[in-house]
């Protein structure tokens, strides 16, 4: 079978199990879009408003579906608009294949119109990048991109394809779906040594990062069998249901008191799939000061990078925890776990204000009305409130920009999350600052019929920055209250969505239920207290 390069791209995508791509047209990829049109029954194409939003959507799609996200963009500005999205996926270890068009090979290296060396630009934020140089390597390169993105520690891979290669023809032979590279089995000696440390520990603490989110069942069995309390990073939040008696919540800068005390007092820290970022361990020498450390990670370069471990075990968190569960004697009655559980339960809640909607009340109302919702956030105070207070019950139900902390992630990500889970409610919790960065993606939510509910925690300020100014700049609140005149309700309506305004938690709750029932994209502008802090 002889096909054009553009047709080969679409064939390989479907062959590799892709049924949804996020893509924005442009001169260098028009041939690809033509071929996508021919395959519209097998490949859904979702058009974002901006390539960055599309890349965040592909990222969120991957986080929710467990599949590889795919984003296609044109050369030059289309490609550079992906950079924040690719960096975001890199920092949070999300599998993503970004396909960019480039100018024809004859024009490359001459600063041609819309030419950018995107392989070079993205080198520090990709697992790998390819510049396809001849049509005969196109199919194998694309297949390899999926293998790399999904194998080991996942991450983004860029494939840059010059326009003339999409126009040439060559033979195409379909092959099967990619297989991830088999990981070496975890070192049994290290596992045995770890199990002995665990058996001897009086105050063990399991700490789960993003790498443990897929190992939810295994970590739960382990924690329950050994009565080990569990603290999580932002990325690990959905590893164990918030209501589980052993769950202490998030640890670190914005962590819970219970997890903080557990970190200070534990004698053994078992870390699964975490890289000990500075937001978890601000002072790495003083983090869990009295504890020995067992470090479990699929990526060996995490060992001794930020913290030095006593034992490290390379492998999938689920496989390692399952093996440890088999080896460690059960420990039914742990006074340590009970004591911490008591602390975790006793966090007080402020009463509802008659003047403002409360962040915590908003989150409670969402969870009560839509228990199966996927929660997406932007970056800032609202993100931390969500991390601290939202009762997550299922893995892969929380989509947030963790490592990169990219404001403007949320709206695009919400579109991608909805594409991955069309039958579950998708709720974007955002702030007025973040939404100003990427509100154009509301157009994509409406036109692609991917209804999401946007709850804007609106304090008309860049709240997190302002909070830091109070702490570190003697409360000189400079440039963090931009006094925008934006009417979010009219804005939503302008995009073809429904708009609501809520001055109290009660008003929010009513608007949210109405929006859920209406089944269309909606925005709820929630006025929150500008002085509310994380």
């Amino acid at each position: 079978m002889t096909l054009t390069g553009a047709q080969i791209i679409t064939e390989v995508l479907t062959e590799q199990g892709v049924d949804t791509v996020f893509a924005y047209p442009g001169a260098s990829v028009l041939g690809v879009f033509d071929a996508l049109g021919d395959k519209a029954d097998a490949l859904r194409v979702i058009l974002p408003a901006h390539e960055q939003g599309g890349c965040h959507a592909a990222d969120a799609y991957a986080r929710v579906s467990g599949k590889c996200g795919v984003m296609i963009a044109t050369s030059g500005p289309g490609a550079t608009n992906l950079v924040t999205g690719i960096a975001n996926a890199y920092m949070d270890s999300v599998p993503l294949v970004a396909i960019t068009g480039n100018v024809p090979r004859s024009l490359m290296g001459r600063d041609s119109f819309q030419e950018v060396d995107i392989c070079g630009v993205t080198m520090p934020v990709t697992k790998h990048g390819f510049l396809v140089q001849d049509i005969d390597s196109l199919a194998t390169t694309l297949r390899e991109a999926f293998v790399i993105a999904m194998s080991g520690r996942p991450g983004p891979v860029l494939v840059d394809i010059p326009k003339d290669i999409t126009e040439e023809r060559t033979g195409y032979i379909p092959v099967g779906h990619y297989r991830v590279r088999a990981a070496a089995p975890p070192d049994e000696g290290a596992i045995r040594a770890a199990s002995e440390l665990i058996a001897r520990s009086k105050r063990p603490l399991l700490f789960c990062g993003g790498g443990a989110v897929n190992a939810s069942a295994a970590l739960r069995s382990f924690a329950e069998r050994c009565s080990v309390p569990v603290a999580v990073s932002l990325m690990g939040l959905t590893a164990l249901p918030s209501t589980h008696p052993l769950m202490l919540g998030m640890i670190g800068m914005h962590g819970t008191p219970a997890s903080h005390i557990a970190g200070e007092r534990c004698d053994l820290l078992i870390s699964a799939g975490s890289r000990f970022s500075d937001r978890v361990a601000g002072n790495r020498r003083r983090f869990a000061p009295g504890a020995k450390l067992i470090h479990i990670d699929i990526d060996p370069s995490e060992f001794d990078k930020n913290v030095v471990s006593d034992i490290h075990i390379q492998g999938d968190a689920g496989a390692v925890l399952t093996r440890l569960t088999e080896l460690v004697p059960p420990n039914a009655a742990s006074g340590w776990a009970d004591e911490l559980a008591e602390l975790a339960r006793s966090a007080p809640e402020k009463p509802d204000s008659p003047q403002y909607a409360s962040p915590r009340g908003i989150l409670r109302a969402v969870s009560e009305a839509a228990a199966d919702a996927i929660i997406v956030t932007d970056v800032g105070q609202h993100q931390m409130w969500t991390a601290q207070h939202y009762p997550f019950s299922m893995p892969r139900s929380f989509v947030t920009s963790g490592g990169l902390g990219a404001m403007g992630f949320g709206m695009g990500a919400a579109v991608g999350a909805k594409a991955a889970a069309p039958h579950r409610p998708v709720v974007l919790i955002t702030g007025d600052g973040s939404l100003h960065m990427d509100m154009a993606e509301m157009a994509a939510a409406v036109t692609e019929n991917l209804p999401v509910i946007v709850a804007v925690m609106n304090n008309n300020a860049l709240g997190m920055a302002r909070q830091w100014q109070r702490m570190y700049f003697d409360a000189r609140l400079r440039y963090t209250s931009p006094a925008r005149q934006t009417d979010f309700v009219k804005l939503a309506e302008a995009f073809g969505a429904a708009g609501y305004r809520a001055h109290t938690t009660e008003e929010f709750s009513r608007a949210f239920r109405a929006a859920l029932d209406a089944g269309r994209t909606a925005l709820i502008d929630c006025r929150i207290d500008p002085d509310e802090r994380v």
Binding site: C119, G120, M123, P124, K127, H128, G129, L131, I148, D299, P300, S301, F303, D304, K305, V308
Partner: protein, 163 residues
């Protein structure tokens, strides 16, 4: 901080060297010298990097290098069991009056002199990093117009690097 020599076998195509050196600069590791060349198999290049680091950092460097898709093998060459060599080309100004003094100073160095015309002279020397330092000390009294160093390349006597 100690000197280490890291040897890598990598895919021989464009961009690979950028990935390797980019990793060093991005993560704040230092490259003291770098040499690259094709191996017997033209699809594979060998990169030799000299670096100064503490033990944990050098382990971290090796693990990071191993993650690069185009890097096939990474080896920290064992100091005592490694043959390490560098090639130096040194262009010197040598007045006729000091000519014989220079050659006395170079005795025992096994230098070649591919060019020696009208007070200008090019020395060619290859040797271990320590011998190279000694040679540079021996010519330090002369005016060095250009100093060209290839960077160290090295091979271990214990086992071979394989793909």
């Amino acid at each position: 901080m100690k000197p280490f020599i890291i040897a890598l076998l990598v895919n021989n195509h464009f961009g690979v060297l950028t990935r390797v050196t980019g990793l060093f600069s991005r993560r704040g590791y230092n490259i003291a010298s770098l040499s690259v060349g094709e191996t017997a198999d033209p699809a594979t290049s060998r990169i030799t990097i000299e670096t100064r680091a503490d033990e944990p950092s050098v382990r971290q460097i090796v693990r990071q290098l191993e993650k690069l898709e185009d890097v096939k093998t990474v080896s920290l060459l064992p100091g005592a069991e490694t043959v390490a060599r560098e090639l130096l080309l040194i262009k010197l100004v040598v007045p006729p009056a000091r000519h014989s003094a220079l050659f006395e100073a170079l005795e025992g160095f096994d230098c070649r002199v591919p060019y020696d015309v009208e007070g200008r002279l090019i020395l060619e020397f290859s040797g271990s990093p320590a011998r190279c330092r000694e040679l540079l000390a021996a010519v330090s009294d002369y005016t060095v117009l250009e100093l060209c160093r290839t960077g160290t390349t090295a091979v271990s006597t214990l086992g071979e690097l394989t793909l």
